[in-house]
Symmetry: C2
Subunit: 314 residues, 2 copies
């Protein structure tokens, strides 16, 4: 079974890592949000792509949820002394990714080609696919005005009140050929437990992506457990948009794009309501605290997908 | 007495540091070669400027002669893993200089303005002046073809046989207004013990620089001691250009630009020959092993300059 996962940052990377543990490398593609990408200090930074890449490579910093394990911070200290911007923390090792990627982009290579090469060098077997090689920039509309994503997310620590989102660069952007091929070849698509608004919606908004999901089992794993986001602003965003933060709200947000939804066991009571929205619902322990948790959830998701596939393609 | 020094890398930085120890900050300007500057990994790197800046700021790595003391190398390790170019060693702290300078250059600031700000932040009182804000690129003509300076100097470790030099970008380049002002205001100019061909000649070749030296005491300190360069390829270059490597050859190279020459005590026998080339000669211990050595040599150079000044402006 070929699986294509859609992922944003930390939560998405964890499930992608689970899938990578239980699937053969050639059976897994991960399409990653690049709407968070930005140029900082003259460097092209792809936060979600790096989180997925580092996580699949076994290099991620488990404590921070971003960056590399065993990181050092000499660059940041020296930058501060020179009066440079330090609100976006760049570790010394992490910096190599941004500098080398920026150099190769400036030399005319695509983000896709560079990512593929980095993954090979980091020993990652699954395909990690930036959703697009074009510039798509997630803008967060807030009570403090429209903010570039990292300005909202990191610099203002997601404190401004959200009123909406805009993906600058759409619809001129196109998913890459590899993204299209991965969607077409997929026996199932897994929407990882990432922020629906700023991690998954940019991918789904690219021309041709939703069309390529049709007729396939598409299973989302809830990023909201017990009304709370496991990480990040998803629950806060839902509340600010006037929706009660819950797994149900996520299921309703994705709506017809899904054929299945994985609900956390603590939200068992939401099952009937979710079933009114999504054809099939699975209840599982979706909290991934260890690498084994990731593999366990991935196995359960794949089992669920297999059941749905039997229905979708009888 | 206002002194303006011309400097390249390590040797020049040492004497500049000596001058900074014995002169009031407002009395010293150091004009630094930028012919070695290059773009590497997409970053603007100014090796001589950084060596002078780090040395005057008391931050230089005394062992290597380049880079920062207490440097860490995580970036380089990570870059190597990603397949990036590692022949030019960039420490984690040093990298902050290159990244922030590149960012500010891209934002439209001049190299001069950025350098001035960095120096203020690093607590450097003397003015450190890049010779130009225009692109001048020292090309080394060798038996292996014409090589960009860092390709010759670092990548090929100055092994190719030198046949000549070219300063690409001249004569379109101009010395900065600060450089012109520092030369005009100078009571004396000190040519530091730097490589005449690739550190000092680029400065002297800029339109208007030689003209501004006329009528002033201009004193050079030999970079060749006992027929050897204290550091770098100066002696090797002289030999390859068919000249016996000696302090005399340096004095003859600068020729009429000089009013005084500081010869090392081991080369006492060259004194008559140098005196046939340069009006005044001083013999001193020019080897600077410690910060105290630098100050001692600087004091001796200033004393010599004062003697010459009494002659030049009676």
């Amino acid at each position: 079974m070929k699986v294509t996962a859609l992922a944003g940052g930390v939560g998405g990377a964890k499930l992608a890592h689970g899938l990578a543990q239980v699937l053969a490398p050639e059976a897994l593609s991960v399409i990653v949000n690049t709407g968070d990408d930005f140029v900082h200090l003259g460097l092209h930074i792809s936060p979600d792509l790096d989180t997925v890449m580092y996580t699949l490579g076994g290099l991620a910093n488990a404590e921070t949820g971003w960056g590399l394990a065993g990181e050092t911070w000499s660059f940041m200290e020296a930058l501060e002394r020179l009066g440079g911007a330090t609100w976006f923390r760049l570790g010394d090792r992490d910096l190599a990714t941004h500098v080398e990627r920026s150099r190769r982009l400036a030399a005319g290579e695509t983000l896709s080609a560079i990512t593929a090469d980095f993954c090979t060098r980091l020993g990652i077997g699954a395909r990690v696919l930036p959703m697009t090689d074009d510039g798509v920039h997630t803008m967060v509309q807030t009570d403090q005005g429209e903010l570039a994503f990292q300005e909202y997310f990191v610099h203002r620590q997601w404190q401004p009140r959200v009123t909406g989102f805009r993906f600058a660069g759409l619809p001129g952007a196109r998913p890459t050929a590899q993204v299209c091929a991965a969607l077409e070849a997929a026996d199932a698509v897994v929407v990882c437990p990432s922020n629906p608004f700023v991690s998954i919606d940019p991918i789904l908004s690219l021309p041709g992506v939703r069309e390529r999901l049709r007729g396939k089992p598409v299973v989302a794993v809830t990023p909201i457990v017990g009304g709370q986001a496991l990480k990040g602003p998803a629950a806060k965003m839902l509340a600010e948009l006037g929706v009660k933060a819950s797994a149900l709200a996520v299921a309703e947000h994705y709506g017809a794009a899904l054929t299945g939804f994985v609900l956390d066991i603590v939200d068992l009571a939401l099952r009937p309501a979710v079933e009114a929205t999504v054809p099939r619902v699975r209840v599982a322990d979706t909290v991934m605290k260890s690498a084994a948790d990731r593999a366990r959830l991935a196995r359960e998701v794949l089992e669920f997908v297999a059941e749905i596939s039997a229905v979708v393609r009888p």
